[in-house]
């Protein structure tokens, strides 16, 4: 059986661990200890569950996409509606959990990185809710393509700091957030937004998102009387995917499919498909698959979706990949946009560009699997991406 918990050092097989400058080792130990204590504290879970229910909007529906399924003529496709959560994406699950931990540690300042801006918005939201000071690092390139979310964060009272180094995207925002944390560690909590980084983040962030898979499991049993054949999610850092997958890992009959950003081509620099184009290495605190050159320098990545545009991937996904327990595929920019149009027109649901990658894979394979049941995680809604959809669907945007 596959171990679903990391070892004491935060390793998932050969992946994970804790690779950070010494200054951050003690704060990470503190976070690990506080989280370990909170996990065993019923009051912590009661407060988190209450917030998830009354503030974030859980449980989210598991919706049978009848028209989409009929159009494809194969598998029955169910959609887990994380897009209906407060702030428009699954990210709020983790932010509420970590905000409670920050309060437990007495830390009054929160920093975060954001790619698409969904994690930044969710972080700014919980900081407003808890009365915490909030600074969000965001690549300049991502600020340009996700302007609406930048304004949302500011409206919520957060300071958004543009990151101008490197590729000016998620990776650089994480590095900048880590530099801030190194400097202000005594009073600052780094609210990392994906199942990435140094231990305990990958397992902790996953735990806060497991609710996705737990609910989906109960809901599909109720709707269909059996488990799904396939669970599909997009994988940037991989938090929504691991949240969906984790409660199904021990169910051998459930295929787990992660969808990476195929971007605009197979050449290094044009995509963010770490499993097909990368190799193991260490970046930003953890050992996992990386897009890198022959000197170990981290490669530039591309995706139309800012949230998938990252050179590494959560270490637990690397482990599930090597074990063969989960399959990882990629979907290009164009297919993702086409899938977003299809979902919008068959079901009246406009997905986030990230989630559209998962939808695209479901659309691609559903016809080959009649009689099967698919669950697709719709991790976020598409409002934030309207400008990008407009740019890519010019024929719809005529006066």
């Amino acid at each position: 059986m596959i171990s679903t918990q990391p070892d004491a050092g935060g390793h998932f097989g050969p992946y994970g661990g804790r690779y950070v400058p010494e200054v951050l080792m003690s704060p990470l130990e503190e976070l690990q200890n506080v989280y370990a204590e909170a996990r065993l504290d019923p009051a912590f879970h009661a407060e988190l569950d209450h917030l998830l229910k009354t503030y974030a909007g859980r449980p989210t529906p598991l919706y049978f996409a009848k028209r989409l399924s009929a159009q494809l003529g194969g598998a029955k496709i169910y959609i887990k509606r994380e897009d209906l959560l407060h702030t428009g994406a699954h990210k709020i699950n983790n932010c509420l959990g970590q905000a409670l931990l920050a309060r437990r540690m007495g830390k009054k300042r929160i920093i975060a990185e954001t790619g698409a801006g969904q994690h930044g918005v969710a972080t700014a939201t919980v900081c407003a809710l808890f009365g915490l000071d909030c600074t969000v690092y965001m690549g300049e390139e991502d600020m340009r393509r996700q302007r609406l979310n930048v304004f949302r964060m500011r409206l919520l009272g957060a300071t958004v700091v543009p990151v101008t180094s490197g590729s000016r995207t998620l990776k650089d925002a994480i590095s900048e957030a880590m530099r801030d944390w190194v400097t202000n560690v005594s009073h600052t909590h780094y609210l990392l937004g994906s199942a990435l980084g140094a231990h305990p983040y990958p397992a902790m962030v996953r735990d806060f998102h497991r609710v996705i898979g737990q609910e989906a499991r109960e809901q599909i049993l109720e709707a269909e009387g059996r488990l799904p054949d396939v669970a599909i999610a997009c994988v940037g850092g991989g938090s929504n995917a691991i949240g969906l997958f984790h409660p199904f890992i021990e169910d051998d009959g459930v295929r787990l499919i992660g969808v990476e950003a195929g971007g605009s081509g197979a050449e290094l620099g044009l995509h963010a498909a770490r499993f097909s184009g990368g190799s193991p290495g260490v970046l930003q605190g953890t050992r996992s698959y990386l897009l890198q050159d022959e000197d170990g320098q981290i490669a530039l990545t591309h995706s139309v979706s800012a949230g998938l545009d990252y050179a590494s991937v959560g270490p637990e996904h690397a482990w599930l990949h090597d074990l063969g327990r989960a399959e990882y595929r990629s979907c290009g920019d164009d297919q993702a946009i086409a899938a977003a149009v299809t979902l919008s027109r068959t079901e009246g649901i406009i997905p986030a560009l990230e989630s559209a990658h998962a939808v695209a894979e479901a659309i691609r394979i559903a016809p080959e699997h009649p009689g099967e049941i698919f669950i697709v995680n719709l991790s976020g809604r598409g409002d934030k991406d309207i400008d990008i959809y407009r740019e890519n669907l010019k024929e719809m945007d005529q006066a």
Binding site: Y19, V182, G281
Partner: protein, 262 residues
């Protein structure tokens, strides 16, 4: 005995605090680095940290980060830095410490790195993002090749961690003067001296203090309190702004360290 150990014996005999000088190898191009090192040695540097550029240096501030970007753009990689070390060794016996991040070393391969670094005349290695918990294999391979492994100790480190840092370090221990990234600052943090005292209670290894040391006054405030001071960003900045004044700049920084022998 490694050149690093010999250096600290000599410093002890001379009753002098040493100067460890960092530069990003390959900034602005690989051809100029050996010349800069020669200038730094003439100015009074006792040990050179050769920074191997990495694309995502989470422990470094903007000065070293940008130097790394320039160096990478100029074609610098780990193999090229080892070639620079060999070039330096043709004319100098100054101790050389490779200073970088784990991923370039992993990609190169520990065994191959240890062998090639030793052959190039490198004396030791510091990987800023390798914690002692993850260091087992790396330390073994480096030590087997006769290379020192230097680790960082920070003001935030618990005593239990400081013990591990001492256990895994050889040559010297690099004390981080403050919580933060590399870069210049006005005052040497008040957290610096308590860390020296805590470390002394644990180890007899020489202690070097770095992060934020950029003026002769900073250097003077640490002289006699640690075995060596480390200057990094200030040197990198000087090389970038006017490398012809590098020697004079570093000589001024070394001024407060001039011991009885000087």
């Amino acid at each position: 005995m490694t050149r690093i150990a010999q250096l600290f014996e000599r410093l002890r005999a001379e009753n002098r605090t040493g100067m460890i000088a960092y530069l990003t190898a390959g900034d602005p191009n690989p051809e100029s680095t050996a010349g800069f090192v020669a200038s730094m040695e003439r100015a009074g540097a006792d040990l050179i940290e050769l920074g191997v550029p990495f694309s995502d240096p989470i422990a470094d501030g903007p000065v070293i980060q940008q130097a790394g970007d320039r160096a990478i753009k100029a074609g610098t990689n780990l193999a090229r830095v080892l070639a620079i070390a060999a070039e330096i060794r043709q004319t100098s016996q100054i101790p050389l410490l490779l200073f970088t991040y784990l991923n370039p070393a992993l990609r190169y391969g520990f065994e191959r790195l240890a062998k090639d670094a030793k052959a190039a005349g490198i004396d030791g290695c510091l990987l800023t993002d390798v914690s002692v918990e993850e260091a087992g294999e790396y330390v073994k391979v480096m030590r087997d090749a006769g290379l020192d492994t230097v680790f960082l100790a920070a003001p935030t480190s618990t005593d239990a961690r400081l013990k591990l840092v001492a256990e895994y370090s050889s040559g010297f221990i690099y004390l981080v003067s403050r919580t933060g990234i590399t870069g210049e600052q006005d005052n040497i943090s008040s957290s610096a001296m308590p860390l020296v005292d805590r470390m002394r209670a644990i180890t007899k290894l020489p202690l070097a203090m770095g992060f934020g040391i950029s003026t002769p006054a900073h250097v003077a405030s640490l002289a006699g309190k640690v075995e060596a001071v480390v200057v990094g960003s200030a040197i990198v900045r000087q090389i970038h702004s006017d490398s012809s004044k590098l020697e004079g700049f570093l000589r001024d920084l070394c001024g407060p360290l001039a011991g009885p022998a000087a």
